[in-house]
Symmetry: C2
Subunit: 315 residues, 2 copies
């Protein structure tokens, strides 16, 4: 942690006090020195990441004090930046923190994954891994809003209560309490009166993906959003061992990244606002207090202590 003076804005610059920042699992990937869809983080630089803040001083005609702005300048309480680094957000219908959650990239990830990549269809039985996480909990909520039977997997009794009581899922699996995730998923599929799953929203990979393939109905779709089980697994990955079923069941596995689907944004925001207004979509963020808690908020993504989207309140 370092203290810096925040400069007075020059021409075309804006000074912002952040209200919330978010931490997410994708940041872990950028801590490896490997080629990916975004470059690795620089050492000794401020951590990048999404934040929502309020304009304090503006030297740009497009922004006025009090405006709510989104930025990706990361883990800082306040900053001065060129106005091109900021995007205005309309908070007349939504709380500011929603733009880091269901109305932000997290929400778009769940939305694009379920509806475009997963092609959610009437009657589909849905399975979501890391279902209590930021993206997973929204994927579950979207499927429930659309009337589907949803099975969620997460780790530990506290998360299972969250899946059942807050998200209203039809079945929940505590992967930490199961010897064999495939058998557990088979049991829950049967318990909800289904013959298999039609759409798997994958945040985990490994044995979760194995279970989803094993229980997949023919022509099931697997929207591959993340494989958190594999990121920290120094070499010891546990890939699914039943990939031949991709062919026999004609499965489709497709990876995706929300930013490839920005063309959906208007439709997505309209749906999210309507669902929020109707009381169908809940704010389920875990909010940590203060920048001093940012690292533990981030680590909480991997040790399983966070529910929903993980935010840090900064102002």
């Amino acid at each position: 942690m370092a203290e810096r003076d925040v400069p007075v804005p020059g021409d075309g610059e804006v000074q912002v006090r952040n209200l919330f920042m978010a931490v997410d699992p994708a940041m872990r990937g950028r801590m490896d020195d490997a080629k990916s869809y975004v470059p690795p983080f620089d050492l000794d630089a401020v951590m990048e990441g999404p934040a929502i803040g309020e304009v304090v001083v503006s030297n740009d005609s497009g922004f006025a004090p009090g405006d709510i702005v989104f930025s990706r300048l990361g883990w800082r309480e306040a900053f001065t930046a060129p106005s091109s680094a900021l995007q205005l957000r309309d908070c007349s219908d939504l709380p500011a923190q929603a733009y880091l959650g269901f109305a932000g990239v997290t929400g778009l990830t769940a939305y694009a994954g379920m509806l475009r990549i997963g092609e959610l269809k009437p009657g589909d039985v849905v399975f979501v891994s890391a279902a209590s996480g930021g993206v997973g909990s929204l994927a579950c909520q979207i499927a429930k809003i659309k009337g589907h039977k949803v099975i969620g997997a997460a780790g530990g009794p506290r998360k299972l209560d969250f899946l059942r009581d807050r998200l209203g899922l039809d079945a929940a699996i505590d992967y930490k309490a199961e010897d064999n995730l495939t058998k557990a998923l088979a049991r829950e599929v049967k318990a909800i009166g289904a013959g298999g799953i039609d759409l798997y929203f994958d945040n985990v990979g490994g044995d979760h993906l194995h279970a989803a393939i094993a229980l997949a109905n023919p022509f099931a779709r697997m929207a591959i959003c993340g494989m958190i089980s594999q990121y920290n697994a120094a070499g010891a990955v546990t890939p699914p061992r039943n990939l031949t079923q991709i062919m026999t069941k004609r499965l489709r596995l497709e990876g995706f990244i929300a930013t490839d689907h920005m063309d959906l944004e208007q439709h997505f925001l309209a749906d999210m606002k309507a669902w929020h207004k109707a009381g169908l979509l809940q704010l389920t963020d875990t909010v940590h207090e203060g920048i001093g808690d940012a690292v533990s908020a981030f680590l909480g993504l991997f040790d399983g202590s966070n529910l929903g989207r993980t935010l840090v309140r900064l102002g």
Copy 2:
């Protein structure tokens, strides 16, 4: 092998003398007692499988002696069957054996896999595994006819000569001579001046699929037609260990079976006939002689001795 009298056709029945039968890797799957898209073979029953034959005696107005008919009644030199078990084939433009190869389900598999599932697009660099096999060699030929750079993998120098000299591929990999298939594919991609592959036609799975994922360009498609490396691997499967790249590269892996794509048949047959007539599409079948050679023809699919589609000449 058993000798049986072939009965005189009753009402609505037809007697057929087979000209060719085919063996294919999918038959191996039906030798396991496992649920799949087709039921397992019965013990002590005649092996089922595609055959093309000539009508000898007909007791059905839809068939006349001399007609060429397709059947799936399998490994027999002659048979009598209800006419509903037979399909007429027009041999004015094509040799009869083509209907077991490029103009049959084998051809439709390659065609649907490359064009519908793989969505072959201008500029795509294509990688095909088991490229010297029945389906693989046709997948290669289709991609070459459409002007693409194609890398094929197969086992042994004889197959590599076939890929280079008969199929005209841009690069060929002898997987049996390589310690590391991923490095070999990277070398060949570079050798043809490409940055990666855009379409992988998978007949093999395992380390071939791993290599394809490792060398995939963003948004590459993988048409999963078979995973022959996994069928005989009593428990010891070697799944790809780089599946996280499905997400980071936004890859799509999709399994398929030709019989789900019969709606393509007219278009497919028109293309195949036109390409054959123009001399672009070759008959590259390995033809074994006589029903006594059927078992070794089948085993040749797995020990790597066959080139192209594997047929047995029966008449």
